[in-house]
Subunit: 802 residues, 2 copies
């Protein structure tokens, strides 16, 4: 009994070091090469064990604050960042309940009425998620509107003053300084306090909903930084929107409320304790993300579809209906509060942060002849989107390599802010596009060099939040814009937006994309009207809408949900068909060149993201080749010392351990008995749940599910638990804590089959067994995410501790 359980590390963890020498390469797996090729990547030297282990110890403590910025600094040349890597830093969520005895006892104790209470609680939480998300959206909207208004007034007054007496360079200086300083604050809080709040947060939420645990992504601190950051970025005049971040904000709100406590604030409200596990939390986060989309675009159905498209493993009617409820409440809250704020309390005219305004279907309907034109616009959108993504890819690579210090990041953000102001100023200065002020609804009309009673049309594009500019492009009557202005604006804004995305500020890419698209779409409409001598295609607003859809589709490559979001934002279903055509074309064309912006950033962060299906040509691989082996197993009644040693073993750092029969040291068949998680073992050790070896008949201390829930989600590291030498000799009985029915697959199962099981049930560990139910391997997320369809067929990504 002295020999500790079969203990060898899964090789999965160690592959990166093996690859270090040839980092950047891949191990392409040609069709049919099968086991040999896959197996060869797995040879490793014992010495490589420890080094990896020491690194991975860091992420166990969740001490890595920077997602992509700090680590490259640690080994700037060792692991050049490329997209053919998979990081071992990310853990999976446990979407599969651990059905151990404790859990079953609790579930059996709960009667029907109590389940109804749980169900009602879920609805209440969803309502609260909706209300809070709506309120946060209102807060952002109102603060941005006021601060931005203040800024525009100051700059406008200054320009007006200096237009008269000369010396407009002072105005430029004022404008650039104002923007840069506001952005500086926004960037500093993100870079120094919570880097995961950078960007729109959509890639992070996509990963979370996919089942990847991204450190810090749903914490209260992240929410605060995100909200402040967004306000500052938008007020700072960057080419960004405040819509994307709403999705992240909604998710954090959902995660917070559903747990009924805040670990950051050290407050536990002792409510909703039933929901303290990954399964429930992830469901609520779906609702939060949907509520965020709903508040951002006034698109409750679009929000639901977004959550499902990104997150749903398994469509559940009740869950979907709850998500929809949260979405509806969210847009309704926003609508009510903003209506009251704008003084027309009862009219409910602001369902989202951005509303595309009413498209009159009589005047702006489309005919069948226009459909080829829309498809052509889709092609253009796809190409421009791909160009945007390609440029942003190079830029991001550059940033990862060279701009990884927080202070450098702040400087870059300030530079972009100043350049944005300068570009705007120069374009306004050079523009001779004057429009009559009468009858237009411009908020801050800048006269500059225009005649009295006229305003500079270019200035309205810059002296406006991007949301308003989009709406103006959709709805201003024909003739409001000079084609030259639109062309110049498209060009400059394209590069500015591309440069801006990926800065260390909280900001979204939806609105800039829409704005670029609306600008070239309107230009396209005007040209068409000009070419056809202004016949039926008189209204360029319709083309602005299609252009906006094409450009956004070309960049983010969302499908069904984006169609519905656009439909809902226009408040009109008539455009459904052309929008779908445009988005589909843009996606197909764009996918031909590079992938979508979010997927690109997910890949650049080396997240083990699981797509919908295994690569089509992966039937040649079976579980035997995919799995990590050998596996560290525990016996059903195990020595405490062994458990501590296994958990402390920094070279393996596993999170799930198959449990086998206690007398496993004989030659007898030792079939799989269950699966236990690291987090569960930690709690057991912490509560000293073991008995002396001599007194095996004694009953060990009973734990309750509550003990596990209280420790969730931040389980202490094994190092913080002191186990004395005497205690090491005690025995621990895992029977009632392990999950006695873990999902298994036989070795012969093909990769697509394993993938389907893993994905459909949202698993974290899948045990591979042989014909006699003996454990032969373990499949985790990384083992599946590693295979990918490249240009030349199936390829295998390397794993690395980035």
């Amino acid at each position: 009994m002295a020999n500790v359980a079969k203990k060898v590390s899964w090789s999965g963890r160690d592959r990166d070091d093996d690859e270090d020498g040839r980092a950047g390469e891949t191990t392409p797996l040609l069709n049919g090469t099968g086991p040999g090729a896959a197996g060869s990547a797995r040879q490793l030297t014992p010495s490589s064990f420890l080094r990896i282990g020491q690194l991975s110890n860091v992420d166990l403590n969740e001490d890595i604050h920077e997602l992509e910025t700090e680590l490259p600094r640690q080994h700037p040349n060792e692991i050049p960042h490329n997209e053919k890597l998979l990081s071992l830093k990310y853990e999976s969520l446990d979407y599969d309940n651990s059905e151990n005895q404790l859990f079953l006892e609790e579930e059996r104790r709960i009667n029907h009425a109590a389940f109804r209470t749980v169900e009602i609680k879920r609805w209440v939480i969803c309502a609260m998620i909706g209300i809070l998300t709506g309120l946060v959206a209102c807060f952002i909207d109102i603060v941005v509107e006021n601060l931005a208004g203040l800024k525009y007034r100051v700059v406008k007054d200054n320009i007006d003053k200096f237009t008269a007496k000369g010396g407009l360079s002072f105005s430029l200086l004022l404008w650039a300084t104002l923007n840069a300083s506001v952005v500086m604050v926004g960037s500093v809080i993100v870079a120094f306090i919570e880097p995961v709040a950078a960007g729109s947060g959509i890639p992070q939420i996509k990963c979370y909903l996919n089942g990847v645990k991204i450190p810090h992504v749903v914490r209260l601190k992240t929410l605060v930084i995100k909200v402040c950051g967004v306000i500052l970025s938008v007020v700072g005049g960057l080419a960004v929107g405040k819509e994307g971040p709403m999705i992240h904000s909604g998710s954090v709100i959902a995660a917070g409320i559903s747990q009924g406590r805040s670990t950051s604030l050290k407050r536990d409200f002792k409510i909703f304790e039933y929901f303290r596990r990954d399964t429930e939390k992830r469901d609520f986060v779906s609702a939060g993300a949907a509520a965020g989309v709903s508040a951002a675009f006034g698109a409750p159905v679009g929000g639901v579809l977004f959550s499902l498209e990104e997150g749903a493993s398994f469509w559940n009617q009740f869950l979907t209906w709850r998500i929809f409820f949260a979405s509806m409440i969210s847009t309704f809250t926003l609508n009510s509060v903003l209506s009251v704020y704008h003084g027309n309390a009862w009219d409910l005219s602001s369902p989202g942060l951005i509303n595309f305004g009413r498209f009159d279907s009589e005047k702006m309907g489309y005919t069948i002849q226009e459909i080829p034109i829309f498809i052509f616009m889709g092609v253009v959108g796809g190409i421009l989107g791909a160009l945007f993504n390609a440029l942003n890819y190079w830029l991001t690579m550059f940033r990862i390599r060279y701009i990884h210090r927080p202070c450098l990041q702040v400087v870059e953000a300030m530079l972009v802010a100043a350049v944005t102001a300068t570009v705007g100023f120069v374009m306004i200065y050079c523009s001779r596009d004057c429009q009559p002020i009468q009858g237009s609804s411009v908020a801050y009309p800048l006269q500059l060099f225009c005649a009295d009673g006229e305003y500079n049309s270019m200035a309205t594009a810059f002296f406006n939040t991007p949301e308003k500019s989009v709406v103006n492009l959709f709805h201003d009557p024909p003739g409001s814009y000079n084609p030259m202005t639109l062309g110049m604006f498209t060009l400059m804004y394209f590069f500015l937006a591309c440069w801006t995305y990926g800065l260390t500020v909280s900001a979204g890419v939806f609105i800039p994309s829409l704005l670029i698209g609306a600008a070239w779409g309107r230009l396209f409409g005007i040209s068409l009207s000009y070419l056809t001598k202004g016949s039926i295609w008189a209204d360029p607003g319709k083309y602005a809408l299609m252009g906006a859809a094409a450009q956004l589709g070309g960049i983010v490559r969302m499908t069904l949900s984006l169609t519905v979001i656009m439909m809902e934002a226009t408040g009109n279903v008539t455009y459904g068909f052309p929008i779908m055509l445009v988005l589909m074309t843009a996606k197909i064309v764009g996918d031909y060149f590079v992938e979508g912006l979010y997927d690109m950033h997910i890949q650049l962060q080396s997240v083990p993201f699981l797509h919908w299906e295994a690569p089509v040509t992966s039937h040649s691989l079976t579980a035997r080749e995919v799995m990590s082996t050998p596996v560290t197993c525990l016996r059903r009644i195990e020595r405490v010392g062994t458990v501590v040693d296994i958990l402390s073993d920094t070279s393996s750092n596993h999170n799930g351990f198959p449990v086998v029969e206690s007398n496993a040291d004989t030659t007898q068949v030792a079939g799989l008995r269950g699966l236990i998680l690291r987090s569960q073992l930690i709690v057991l050790l912490k509560h000293k749940v073991f008995v002396e070896r001599a007194n095996l008949n004694l009953v060990q201390r009973r734990l309750k599910l509550k003990d596990f829930r209280d420790a969730y989600p931040r389980f202490p590291p094994i190092q913080s638990i002191h186990v004395s030498q005497d205690e090491r000799d005690c025995m621990i009985d895992l029977s009632e804590f392990m999950n006695p029915s873990p999902y298994t697959v036989p070795q012969e199962a093909s990769l697509p089959r394993v993938f389907k099981l893993f994905r459909a049930l949202g698993l974290r560990h899948l045990v591979v067994v042989d014909n006699r139910n003996e454990v032969v391997g373990m499949v985790t997320r990384k083992d599946l995410a590693r295979y990918r369809l490249g240009k030349e067929g199936l390829e295998e990504l390397s794993l690395a501790q980035t």
Copy 2:
């Protein structure tokens, strides 16, 4: 080796006979009674075996044409139909691919480019589904419009003639005879040719998408009967709509096209052979159902959501996007063709069979104060819907018991048609509600006893297809309807519609529900306007819309998809929030009394329908208690005679057989090696894939996947395959045909866990194994569908061969 494989029947099949004596009772399973209670239902006498077997032999040949009508006749008193039964007649679809060697070899041979071709084919099929569904909808619409127009003109002329000279009873006779004879034809074709074409087909499609194989449901003959039947029912003036049946029609079209052949027509186009399996077919049927919804209501997004809500086990982005594509094409085709037909070729104003018309959001917007009113309307809708369902339940029970002969069914349909005409006539006759003809857009204004220049308002409600009546109720200016007329109409139509649903005619319940709701909703609006002295609530059309939503929601209890369908049909997203509230309230209130109409009819047909989750209190049950045991296993190399005997054994009639190691007769562990289906065995026997026992080294005949696909989906019965006595002694090697990696669960897994695996992957057989991977039981759909949450906790349905 002479002893045939372990062979005992699963008990699942036999439980009904055991229950015969106390048929109608259930075996309520109180919480926590566990194994004992479940096990007791399983004792059976050998004699009960054969009787069941002989019955089940019938359904193997798919000779049962009538779903609910013929069987009660066979044993009118033995099995009183009640909802606490589960029929053994229905098989599951194989949504899980059998990953045998043949399949893997084929998949491995296909390279990336070929997969792309397959993918393109899928898109082409979806486009074809969309186009054909759209065209069928157009056909129905145009034929109905013309025939109904003809009928109304004939009757109107007759009434006009007899109004002048007296003797209006002749008109009534003419009208009633016309209706009855048209309905007779419609009823005869359904009752005598294809009874599965009766009703809306939505319950059947729900079952199909849920994974239940309903005989004949996706056959060409069904489509033809359905289309003709719908036309005749609507023209016959019944209180029905043509929208529901479109969903069924779309599904049949999808099933037909995707298989590239018609078994009924004996035509094989040799295309799309790759898709000849349940997995692919079911995916396409989802697209077809969505296309049907889309064509019916002009609601492509609603269609997608309908398919997902009813069918999706596992949300797949590509699949969803294809479904959406089919939906969009469908509504677009309908729109284009109808626009051309109506003479305004380019305006695309008819996206669906029914369009609710344009709701002007300026004039008809809602305010926050109205929300409680809407919720109240939801309550009313829920109650009225529950009443409708309860009445229909009793009626259906009556029909099942007494009106099961086809000729009786035809007579009932004719009676309903005549009564509908009579009621209409009497109401028109008694009505004194005259409206000025000028300015109204009534198609067939009936003057009757009104003054010149006026028409009878009640007559328009009956002299119109129900679709037009709904739209009129939504949009006619305030004052068009007399409250008395509306009240009478609601009352009469409510009972007529309730009587009509479930008749042996092809017809839907959507439109009658909307019409009832619109009528009382408008009445409600008028009353409100009257009570508040006509302030802001001036427009009753808005209340008609909410009433329609409430009534429909109260009857069918659909949630997300119905909200979106209503939103899309109104062409306006403004009403999204109130419609959601109304539907949610109606569902909650309605569910308190009885369940939804479709679910009710599914239960009345005793279909083993799997809901989204296992009953919440079912954690007390484990796989050990749920599974059927013992299981008929086959050995990897099996004697042909044994196989034939097992397949011919009418007492078991199993469809899946676990395969164990060949030397299973020793005491050695004989772990599970694979799973083989009855259909596969049949094909093997048909092609004589076996070798003589003496020549075991000889290679047996090779089969290709094509051989299996050619036999799909109508595999011959075992009786049609002749196996000689010599051949019976040959050996058959199942290794390359069996699925070597069937999904398994340990005996300890709880029912919810087994349920989740089964449902998420759309399984047909789930093998239960012990710790040594030996087969101990089998879980099929019936074993899971049997448990249900009743009023007093968990209850177990009886199984019966109804």
